[in-house]
């Protein structure tokens, strides 16, 4: 966010306040250790009691990796994330194609644009029932797909999804590790954060 020109404000899990921020990124990690299903406990964190209604009211929210898992557990996004097909943690540079640019987080990209990012997760396999999957595709709610071989067995190669409105998005790979070629595989990920700043400025 800082690299994209925004001001980052840390939010504390135990503090039921969003402190007036304009957008929220739920980062990756291992919330509460994730010894239970990933994100299953974090969804009940005090800060989520403010975040869930705010997201329903239009606040731009991006969940990355564990953040994506939390958004699914919180039912802000459809589907769920389960153990990788290979049953091992996977840290791999992947290409994803941005499927929809009609969101608060992807407006800086062009539809179908392929970007290079890092995928690093043990439970990154996106699953949903057939009707949901069909609905996601039909309504343009697939945010991104893996462009190369499917790395973790995700349903129809889904790397990220968005809600119907487009303010809430979840992405399994990590755009924040692709903001500088010095420390990542590309700088392609900056677009997510630049998009949100645009959305906030326009909103």
């Amino acid at each position: 966010m800082r690299r994209a020109g925004g001001t980052a404000v840390p939010l504390w899990h135990g503090d039921a306040s969003l402190h007036g921020v304009d957008a929220v990124v739920l980062p990756g990690g291992f919330s509460y250790g994730d010894y239970l299903r990933c994100g299953a406990i974090a969804r009940f964190a005090p800060v989520m009691t403010e975040l869930i209604p705010a997201a329903r009211a239009g606040l731009p929210v991006l969940g990355i990796c564990n953040g994506f898992q939390i958004l699914c557990e919180a039912h802000l996004l459809p589907g769920a994330l389960t153990r990788n097909e290979g049953r091992r943690f996977l840290n791999r540079v992947v290409q994803i194609s941005i499927e929809t640019v009609d969101t608060a987080w992807t407006s800086e990209y062009s539809a179908g644009q392929q970007i290079t990012v890092v995928l690093k997760s043990g439970e990154g396999r996106y699953v949903a029932d057939q009707r949901t999957l069909a609905g996601l595709t039909a309504s343009g709610q697939v945010l991104a797909r893996y462009a190369g071989p499917n790395p973790n067995g995700s349903a129809v190669g889904i790397a990220g999804v968005r809600n119907a409105v487009g303010n809430v998005a979840g992405l399994m790979p990590h755009p924040e590790h692709a903001i500088d070629a010095l420390t990542g595989p590309s700088a392609d990920g900056l677009g997510f954060f630049a998009s949100a700043l645009h959305a906030v400025a326009a909103g």
Partner: protein, 751 residues
């Protein structure tokens, strides 16, 4: 030692002849008598527990201590060391007010018994060592050695170890930026799992393990104490496997909780920043026993502890068990009474349980009570510093000359192009030289966002300061085959390789840590190997100007009477003035000149070729030339800073053959090279002090001048480009074929 029976100091005085299980706890009769002499009475059960763990090989270094002194005696003159040997980890000044602390430690025995938890808690332990110095842990590396890659037990141990490191390190949010993976049947019953952690601090934040200021409170915080690994590391690591009747010495390995460790890290860093910590110690092997004695001994003070106050996960534990428990994710701090309230508030914020269990006294005694009675009353230094020190007999094994005489020069060598091609493919598809992605893909190398280089590059490179691009590079290396042939030279070769790997990124090597993995010190042949290795490392560090800042000794790596090859693993840390000028190990750019730096001799002793092609180990390891290593390192640093190179790759296992294959596979670029001399020697010899470099187009002249100025021989081999590795007049291999051969091996073995 049950909870119901209290053996008090008064009991001990009243019943001097009561038999005690000192032998079961690993103390010899002489050591037990020494305890009685120190105390003037028999120890209580709780005291016996303290002495048994503190005087174990693992904690006391009793067989190695007199040899390790050389690291201090021969230390090169340096002004970069802020804290050296003896502290939890050495601290090195890297300039601009920053310091780094780094250390490598073994978790070999637990990782064989229970690979997943053994390796996981190995990461946790070394991270707490770094945390205890006042530093924020920022990365880990793992040096792993297993039995033959295709042995069934390796299929049990390796996946578990890798998954354990992945589980713990990833959850903790520490990037894994490098390390090693090697195989040899000698490690079949004794895998080596060595974990290195590096941390960053400002000079002013350095913490030392000392309990000072009588009246200050002693706080135990983190996880509750349970019956984990009682006698685990300390007793387990001090007795070799095999033989009968040792079942009682194989207690359960500790279980790790990486999320608690993450909370503990953040909690400690906030406590440090608030200035609330007078002294701090992590709880590792020997738990509360070690932390209390070392803090009290370090401060030259006394300490009064109520063992009843220790929060327990199992209420049936008695004092000796509480003292010996190796429950993970615990720290002990000394806190001024005025700061205690704030200390507790910060712990509560991080959901870290914290309990005052005692206070610092001026008595010079470590006193502990349990259910109202005194169960420990000892001078703390007697357990922490005055343990037995052995001058174990060491003698050069009689087979050593025969081994040296078995010269691999007599082995049949590949002749024409087709045979050389096949030999190269055989090496690069061996588990030792194959692509390690199957392992490294399970580790998060990106987290924290400051990783500039990680596997498969020669060294890990981290950015330390975003404003100035200051960074540090780290590499670990060891070569058991070289050390088996000659432990003195082999250890120097390990040091030279790690030094060269760090230099290959363009960093300036600064300091050394080591993990000395050996068989039983009670075997004079092993002891000879050990003394030679220590002497070699101390002499090598003096010559290279890189002080040893700390490390770890792991003895008893043997099954029955068969020790592992002597395997000192050396970690080298370097400073990078500007990480933007880092050199990767390969570049995809076509049209760059490829040069071989250094001198190649016919040196096949202990080589990967002799090992893979012939299963042969004999002769002499490659010659050590530390002056040449220094010249090469200086050249690489200057060339990186001057932006003359695209890439640099150290030559080690498998020589130029493996280095060229790795260059092509990592860079996904072909090359055409001409070998000026005997192709076999040039391809497969493992002469030290060499590197393969790709020169930035238009910088050829400047780089040639730099080589000449540094006195480093440089041979133009050819240039990059095309889709194949082409060796003129001999053979060619498509990069796709090389890549596939390297990639296929580990997945075929481990799924």
């Amino acid at each position: 030692m049950s909870a119901t029976r209290q053996d008090t100091v008064a009991d001990a005085a009243a019943t001097p002849d009561r038999p005690q299980p000192y032998a079961e706890l690993g103390l010899t009769g002489e050591e037990y008598d020494r305890v009685i002499g120190l105390l003037g009475r028999r120890p209580t059960d709780a005291e016996l527990a303290i002495y048994s763990v503190m005087w174990s090989e693992h904690c006391s270094y009793k067989s190695s201590r007199r040899h390790l002194r050389q690291f201090a005696e021969k230390a090169p003159r340096t002004d970069v060391l802020l804290a050296g040997m003896g502290q939890n980890a050495g601290v090195v000044d890297i300039g601009q007010g920053f310091a780094v602390t780094f250390k490598i430690e073994s978790h070999n025995h637990p990782s064989y018994v229970e690979p997943f938890q053994g390796a996981a808690t190995g990461v946790g332990g070394i991270v707490r060592d770094i945390l205890a110095m006042g530093a924020r842990p920022v990365a880990v590396l793992d040096a792993l050695r297993f039995g033959a890659a295709d042995a069934p037990d390796t299929g049990r141990v390796l996946p578990g170890v890798v998954a354990g490191i992945s589980f713990y390190g990833n959850c903790l949010g520490l990037p894994n930026i490098g390390g090693e993976l090697a195989f040899d049947p000698c490690y079949a019953g004794n895998p080596l799992v060595n974990a290195l952690c590096v941390g960053v601090l400002r000079h002013a934040d350095l913490k030392l393990a000392a309990a000072t200021g009588p009246g200050n409170k002693v706080v135990l915080f983190g996880s509750r104490t349970g019956p984990d690994g009682i006698g685990g590391a300390s007793v387990l690591a001090s007795a070799s496997f095999g033989g009968s009747g040792e079942g009682a010495k194989r207690p359960s390995v500790q279980v790790g909780d990486p999320f608690m460790e993450k909370l503990l890290v953040e909690c400690c860093l906030e406590l440090y920043a608030a200035g609330l910590v007078v002294g701090i110690q992590d709880l590792g092997a020997a738990g509360v026993a070690c932390a209390t004695t070392e803090l009290a001994a370090g401060g030259g003070t006394g300490m009064r502890v109520s063992l009843d106050a220790v929060p327990l996960r199992d209420a049936s534990l008695g004092p000796a068990e509480i003292l010996m428990s190796e429950s993970q994710e615990r720290m002990m701090a000394v806190v001024e009474p005025g700061g205690l309230r704030r200390f507790m508030q910060i712990c509560a914020k991080w959901d870290v349980q914290a309990t005052v269990i005692g206070e610092v006294t001026g008595t010079g005694r470590l006193e502990m009570s349990w259910h109202g009675a005194r169960v420990v009353d000892i001078p703390p230094a007697s357990a922490a510093d005055d343990g037995p020190v052995y001058d174990r007999p060491a003698s050069r094994p009689p087979g050593q000359d025969r081994l040296a005489a078995d010269d691999p020069a007599a082995l049949p060598r590949p002749g024409g192009g087709a045979e050389l091609r096949a030999a190269l493919l055989q090496l690069v598809s061996s588990a030792d030289a194959a692509d390690k992605t199957w392992v490294t893909e399970q580790y998060d190398s990106y987290v924290r966002g400051d990783t500039v280089l990680a596997s498969p590059h020669d060294a890990g490179l981290l950015r330390i300061d975003e404003a100035t691009n200051l960074g540090v590079a780290l590499a670990t290396d060891g070569n058991g085959r070289f050390c088996q042939l000659d432990p003195y030279a082999g250890t120097q070769l390990a040091l030279a390789e790690a030094y060269r790997n760090v230099a290959a990124t363009g960093a300036r090597p600064l300091a050394v840590t080591n993990c000395l993995n050996f068989g039983s010190p009670e075997d004079p042949a092993v002891m000879w190997q050990f003394t030679e290795a220590v002497r070699g490392l101390a002499d090598g560090c003096l010559a290279l100007g890189t002080p040893v800042t700390g490390g770890n000794v792991s003895f008893y790596n043997q099954t029955g009477g068969s020790p592992i090859y002597p395997t000192p693993v050396v970690g080298v840390l370097g400073v990078h003035a500007d990480v933007r000028s880092r050199l990767p190990s390969a570049s995809g750019v076509a049209g760059a000149s490829l040069l071989l730096l250094g001198t190649t001799r016919l040196e096949l002793g202990g080589s990967l070729w002799a090992h893979i092609a012939h299963g042969h180990l004999g002769g002499r390891p490659p010659a050590v030339d530390l002056a040449a290593e220094q010249a090469l390192a200086g050249l690489l640093a200057a060339a990186a800073a001057g932006r003359l190179l695209l890439a640099a790759h150290d030559l080690s296992d498998g020589g130029l053959a493996v280095a060229l294959a790795e260059y092509c596979a990592v860079g996904q670029v072909g090359c055409r090279v001409e070998l000026p001399g005997d192709p076999f020697t040039l391809l497969f010899s493992e002469s030290a002090a060499r590197a393969l470099v790709a020169v930035r187009p238009a910088s050829e002249g400047a780089f040639a001048a730099a080589c000449a100025a540094a006195g480093v021989p440089a041979t133009v081999l050819g240039s990059t480009g095309g889709t194949a590795l082409r060796v003129s007049g001999l053979f060619e291999i498509e990069v796709a074929e090389l890549t596939a051969a390297r990639l296929a091996t580990l997945p075929a073995l481990f799924g």
